[in-house]
């Protein structure tokens, strides 16, 4: 199913933002908040993994029902998971389309990667001492 993906700040994202190697930061920023009817349509229960495919790739997140989002829209806290599929075009403003990406969402059996995992996929080297 096609959804509009909006990214934004949450308290939990802000609380963990200075501790990006923590499991809590990964959990918060890999959460895909959805309308419960959309989740029913896709056969999803809370915390089920979903594959979210954007214009430049795909990433696995976890679906969580939220009363804040409308049907057809999903909300993902700012962070490396959403940015893994966001395009870099800025329409000559410097600002990517962080709140207006169309994405495809489907259930999956895969687990979300860690933040380190995502960074290593792109050529980085995790520092975890």
């Amino acid at each position: 199913m096609t959804f509009l993906m909006i990214t934004g700040r949450t308290v939990n994202q802000g609380v963990t933002v200075e501790n990006k190697t923590s499991a809590e930061y990964a959990e918060e920023t890999s959460t895909c908040f959805m309308h419960e009817f959309d989740m029913m349509e896709l056969g999803l229960a809370d915390n089920d993994p979903v594959r979210v495919t954007g214009p430049c790739g795909e990433v696995v997140m976890r679906a969580v029902a939220s009363v804040e989002v409308e049907m057809g829209t999903v909300f993902v806290p700012y962070g490396p998971y959403a940015n893994h599929i966001i395009a870099a075009g800025t329409h000559s403003t410097g600002m990517p389309d962080f709140k207006s990406h169309e994405v495809e969402i489907e259930p999956t059996d895969e687990e979300p990667k860690t933040v380190h995992g995502l960074m290593e996929d792109l050529g980085g080297l995790a520092y975890d001492r």
Partner: protein, 429 residues
Amino acid sequence: MIVKDAVCPFCGCLCDDIEVEVEGNRVVAVTNACELGKTKFMGEQRLKNPILRDGNTWKDITCDEAIRYAADMLLSAERPLLYGWSGTHGEAQCVGVHMAELIHGVIDNTSSVCHGPSILAIQEVGHPGCTLGVVKNRADLVIYWGSNPIDAHPRHLSRYTRYAEGFFLENAFRDRKVIVVDVRKTETANIADEFVQIKPGGDYAVLSALRAIVQGKTDTIPRTVAGVTKEQLIRVANLCKSAKFGAVYFGLGLTMTRGKYKNIRNAIELVSELSRHTKFTISAMRGHYNVYGSNEVNTWMTGYPFGIDFSRGIAFYNPGETTAVDILARKECDAALIVGSDPAAHFPRKCLEHLADIPVVQLDPYPNATTAFCNVQIPVAVTGIDAEGTAYRMDGVPIRTRQVLSSNYPSDREVLSKMYALMQEAPGR
């Protein structure tokens, strides 16, 4: 020891009434701060010492070695990018601008992926703004548009708007109305007197409709505009016109959506039209505690607020060309110095793929997502905790942050000054 009136270095509210209890060199309790500020003060996940990537491992190096590495990297680069700057103090930002000029680099701050579009709009039509104190004491109507302060600026409501006392308001909680405009029914929407829910991407149309109503052209408005009924639009316009003093605070819901700076321009022009009926102001909900300061420092030193390119030997500014996301996505820069931000967590993946291909040095107290792309990371003191320095609040008021404990970490200014001195001494400079 209890430090009173400490300044919180998290968001643009820069709350200056924090009490921090320190035992030895640790913060053990924080009073008055929100959850975001408290966690930052209590944070202990610091990087212990400078690190260098050595193939597929990391090794510890000294601070002097790390500074030398950074200076050499920047001196040998043809198009270095100096990015970040919102999570540090003004004195360090000054050194950053001098450094960018010396090496003919590009210096950009996080506002290019935050309120950069707001600044573009302000450059077109001006900024009818005011300080937070004026809003607290006078505003009887506050509009949060595309902004969710309960999550992003938790004390904005209690210090300045919904739950704040007002000198010129008899009963501020009763007399001050709050309107929230958003595509999501956020926690902030739940405490509003009026919630206007817009279909995603519809902000520009709703702003235009409100402008038409304020101008007396109500007949031109269709039954609904971007999901908002004509009745509600008229009600909101009337609330605005009948207010004695209105204040609009907008967030990234306007800057990051389709239309970007044109949304802000329309909002500023609505405020300008409302000011023909009553007093109205508009301001941005700035995110990082000193992102505003970064715009100020850049502007007074170069004439431009962000995205400044010194490759011509003079300051050149062209957002979309000289901004960090574009430069990285075009694989243009050949070295990057990152200070006080974490682009690997907040930039699109294409930018990170280029960061992986070039030498990167980062100044940051914590291991973060960008650490994975660093050749060298230098841990520094946290401004407002173990370093002091000047920061600008979201309304442009400069506030001196305080040092609440001492540590062995150098401040950003100290590290950058040493780096800059080495670069000035280099042959040919």
